[in-house]
Amino acid sequence: MIDIEKIRADFPILKREVNGKPLIYFDNAATSQTPQVVINAIVDYYSRYNANIHRGVHTLSQEATDAYEVARKKVQQHFSAKNDYEIILTAGTTHAINIVATGFTSFLAKDDEIIVSAMEHHSNIVPWQMLCERTGATLKVIPMTEQGVLKTDVYENLLSSKTKLVFVNHVSNALGTVNPIEFIIEKAHAVGAAVLIDGAQATPHIKPDVQALDVDFYVASAHKLCGPTGVGLLYGKEDWLNKLPPYQGGGDMIDQVSFEKTTYAGLPFKFEAGTPNICGGIAFGVALDYLNEIGYENIGAYENELLIYATERLKEIDGLRIYGEADEKTAVISFNVGNIHPYDIGTIVDKLGVAVRTGHHCAQPIMDFYKIPGTVRASFAFYNTKEEIDVFVDAVKRAVMMLS
């Protein structure tokens, strides 16, 4: 069960007003809000033990190092990774994807193939296109249905001994579809391909077990998990991380350096060149504690209730079409009303205090698929309420009245 009054009190930003109206924040798929405990952790770090890590012998450096490594352990436990050194703390999902995409340059030959899904974020398309340009490999795309569900039969046909890597998001940011990643991973492994799953949109709603999934790489961002921006993770199986070459050179990632030869540090430091986002990493750990205290089962059940309620209420509006109608989806509703431009609706509902995302959601191929310029996207978190959804639906109705 969710104690909504108590939870809302944890988020100071929910008390503010926008355009003279109480803020209703429905852009959680873009970034989540930050609870006071996480804000406190950030303040505490800079007030008490701000220091560079993994180097100094002094007390502050040791305290900061310990806190940072405790955070890594928390991430490890959260994702059920076997070893803490299989967790690389990155600047975020995009950074994590680029570590893998760049590293795979040395593994790919001209006739090799990479498979991605049709519902990827731009950050999940461009690095692979660049990888294909570097290596001569080919990019194959798993198509989707009108409902926004991947065509798994086509996926099976795309797989072959040429497939070296499969890349799919766990949940689509534009549609909310939960993809069948267990199936995707199993089939990819059967042909000897590695699998990278982007969990940026899934992890606020689902707690993945990377060992049970048997996934090779899993990536996510802290700022969608009630943590700060500029920090995220790359989980990789130990074997893969050992094989993968380092992404950036710099301090902290080396063992021995001379002008003749440098040997690299072991995991995870091989991929953590330079001073990391120390405070961000520590705050990420606190954010995971916060979410786990509420419990993912409670979060998932409550958000699903919001999703069902919002879907029903929005369907009251004439001409409203929802994009992404998979049976299994997270609390995301992408929609348009008639021919009204999503930007127009977004502008009016913002005036009424509701924050939603409008546009192509960095997923232009999906918009091209539906032949639309974009959508209005409302995405809910466990601190949202049905009352807020009522205000939002009224705001959309008012916008539609003004705009048609």
């Binding site: 431009h341 930007y343 127009d344 502008t347 005036k351 409008t358 546009g359 310029p373 003004m402 705009l403």
Partner: protein, 140 residues
Amino acid sequence: MTIKEIQEEIVSEFEMFDDWMQRYEYMIELGKDLPLVDAQYKTDDNIIKGCQSKVWVHADLEGDKLNFTADSDAIITKGIIAILIRAFSGQHPKDIIEADMGFIDQIGLKEHLSPTRANGLVSMIKQLKLYAVAYQTQLK
């Protein structure tokens, strides 16, 4: 009328409304009277970058004055571009280049002036002024 006088006229029209909703409704009305760009200029090349909605603008020189036509697939954007064009059409390129755009603030659209705002009002103003710069060179 000079650009400044037209701007003042627009400001006084918007002053009649006391809430944002009426201002937006008026802007939507203004968008309906927008002199529409000829279909041949509605190409991808003529889309103004930096806008979430599509905005096309075209300029024609008549004598030494510029006339603008435009269109957008979003209604509010259409209203915004209509306001800009009303201030600039029939004016000399030099005056357009030098025009101060502070009146946008006065009609309560200040929030749209941020350079990172997705509607790209700043990009629209820039594009209109670029046309003026181009034709100014031609006039010389």
